[in-house]
């Protein structure tokens, strides 16, 4: 009797398991296998090449450029999004006038279609008649006018800028949510002890947001790994791979150069990085939960 009822319980998760197996597990396994072959993706002409794809990819310069971009992009966007998110959240938690309107406005960039906003930003950064350069020239700051997206040393920072524009609202919400959980008597006693707003923030709020710092960090790392839409619209990885990300690299190997084996190899490398990040996250999450238990 009990057996049978437990079996019917599985029926409730059967649909999600089927979707997961077909559309996530199968493609990953498929890519893992393909990474040991040479194949254009069309026709039966497929050759086993062992580890040759890994050797080719790791000896090429692009993968290292991609990793370099990933680290720079992750560091810049995560730090600034967290910082701005925290600042906004602490204004809202203190209920400054218009908080609920600002919360909605600041989250707006996260819901607009990336391809649409990408077009606007490409006109914004455009070298000759772009809005940014026009604006700088109007302020007589001509030397600051750059070729932005066409300049290999600046393009990645432009992408970072757009990403921060897009996702600061999201980290603001995460911080705001966990600040709501901090009991207000902590602030009352801090202010009785003579702590001002800034001190309350550094001594009370910041340490208690540990869990959220981790969440924002992990989501930011994974976001940087996935980063595709804005890069595709603005630079498609160029100039000279200055903005190449894992997703753009894989997409171009698969659908422009038709080198499925190499593309799958990059997928595997990206996947290993994602797994390391996730493992670190679980470790930290576990530890931060222990920390919370102790605090209670």
């Amino acid at each position: 009797m009990r057996r049978k009822s437990e079996l019917t319980n599985y029926l409730f998760i059967l649909p999600i398991l089927v979707l997961f197996a077909v559309f996530i597990v199968y493609p990953i396994v498929y890519n893992f296998i393909i990474s040991f072959f040479e194949w254009s993706g069309f026709g039966p002409d497929i050759t086993f090449v062992g580890l040759e794809n890994y050797v080719t990819i790791l000896n090429g310069k692009i993968i290292w450029k991609v990793m370099h971009n990933f680290i720079i992009f992750a560091l810049i966007t995560i730090t600034l999004q967290a910082l701005f998110g925290m600042i906004f959240a602490s204004f809202f938690i203190n209920n400054i006038r218009g908080s609920s309107v600002y919360r909605i406005l600041f989250y707006l960039p996260a819901v607009v279609t990336p391809a649409i906003i990408g077009q606007v930003f490409s006109k914004f950064f455009e070298a000759n008649r772009g809005y940014l350069n026009t604006f700088l020239r109007a302020l007589h700051l001509d030397p600051l006018a750059q070729t932005w997206l066409a300049d290999p040393s600046l393009a990645l920072y432009c992408i970072c800028f757009v990403n921060i524009w897009q996702w600061t609202g999201y980290s603001m919400l995460l911080y705001y949510a966990s600040m709501l959980n901090i009991p207000s008597d902590l602030y009352e006693s801090a202010s009785l002890d003579g702590a001002n707003k800034a001190q309350q923030f550094t001594r009370v709020t910041f340490p208690l947001l540990r869990g959220t710092h981790f969440t924002v960090f992990i989501l930011g790392m994974l976001g940087s790994l996935k980063c595709y839409d804005i890069v595709f619209i603005l630079t498609n990885g160029g100039p000279n791979y200055a903005t190449e990300t894992f997703s753009v690299y894989i997409q171009n190997l698969s659908f422009s150069m038709f080198r499925q084996g190499q593309s799958a190899t990059v997928v595997v490398i990206m996947f290993i990085i994602a797994m390391v990040i996730t493992a670190v996250q679980l470790q930290l999450y576990y530890r931060s939960n222990q920390h919370k238990e102790l605090a209670r």
Binding site: E6, T8, N9, Y10, F12, I13, P15, I16, L17, L19, F20, V22, F23, I24, P27, Y30, N31, I34, G41, F88, F91, N94, N95, I96, R97, Y102, I104, L105, L108, V111, V112, T113, P114, A115, I116, Q119, V120, K123, F124, G169, L173, A177, S178, L180, S184, S191, K197, L222, K226, Y228, D229, I233, S247, I250, S254, F255, A264, V267, M270, T278
Partner: protein, 264 residues
């Protein structure tokens, strides 16, 4: 607690400045769309493109994705929250790990499946991959929501002789509506805006979804009848559904995400 004048003033100043920062690209887009030609820019968009087909594709894709996600994730969240079975914890975390998987890691094999089924250029190529992503992404939110529903309610339903399916459908689901609403709003946004898969699976520009259409504008721009202003008008038209959605749903979405995040 009252804020000091200085703090309130500083906060207001920073928030106003930041508001300008966050909406400036949208303002540029709308203002420029009326330059040299005014409303005529908008009618020129329709002379050049039949966006109706693109909207239809988006609506089919998003509608089906929402329906599948709603059913699948509701059942799964109910099971992981309220039912006992062996391996449930391990399976739960396995499914959650699905949201860590980038599109790039699955796109070529999925393309092979789609091509094998003859679904290239069909809206149905995108529905199941999108629904899978949404289910994994939203399982956490909905399960947390179900956890907050007291078990006594289920026991009462059990005594009344309702089986598990009816308990899930008629007792728990109605209570969990606000949680499901947040899940569906997120799913709507994610599937309406998705670019990476949509661009590959539906390569035919006449039927591609709205999330991909703007890519084409960049290529046609600066032809005589498609000036930059007309392009901005076209972008505004493409963004309209999202704007309308956000006007009505912003408050519940933002509040829902906030409470969801707390429980997560």
């Amino acid at each position: 607690m009252k804020n000091s004048k200085l703090y309130g003033g500083l906060g207001l100043f920073i928030c106003l400045l930041s508001s300008a920062f966050f909406i400036f690209p949208l303002v540029i887009m709308v203002v420029r769309s009326f330059h040299s030609g005014g409303i005529a820019n908008y009618s020129r968009v329709f002379d050049k493109y039949n966006l109706f087909v693109n909207f239809t594709t988006s609506v089919i894709v998003v509608g089906c994705t929402l329906a599948i996600t709603a059913v699948v994730v509701s059942f799964a969240a109910f099971a992981f929250s309220k039912l006992r079975f062996r391996g449930s914890r391990a399976l739960y975390y396995l499914l959650l790990s699905g949201m860590m998987v980038p599109v790039a890691a699955t796109i070529f094999p999925l393309y092979q499946i789609v091509r094998g089924l003859g679904l290239i250029n069909s809206p149905f190529s995108l529905i199941f991959p999108y629904a899978t992503g949404s289910c994994c992404f939203n399982l956490l939110i909905l399960k947390n929501y179900y956890d907050s529903i007291p078990n006594e309610m289920l026991e009462a339903a059990n005594i009344d002789g309702a089986n598990k399916l009816r308990t899930c459908w008629q007792v728990v689901m109605p209570v969990a509506k606000p949680g499901l609403a947040v899940v569906l709003m997120q799913t709507f946004l994610a599937s309406w805006n998705e670019l990476q898969m949509a661009r590959i699976f539906i390569a035919d520009t006449d039927v591609q979804p709205i999330s991909v259409v703007p890519v084409r504008f960049a290529q046609t721009i600066s032809s005589r009848d498609f000036t930059q202003e007309v392009m901005y008008a076209a972008l505004v038209i493409c963004l309209l559904p999202i704007v309308i959605f956000y006007i009505f749903a912003a408050k519940s979405l933002v509040n829902g995400l906030t409470t969801g995040a707390v429980k997560g």
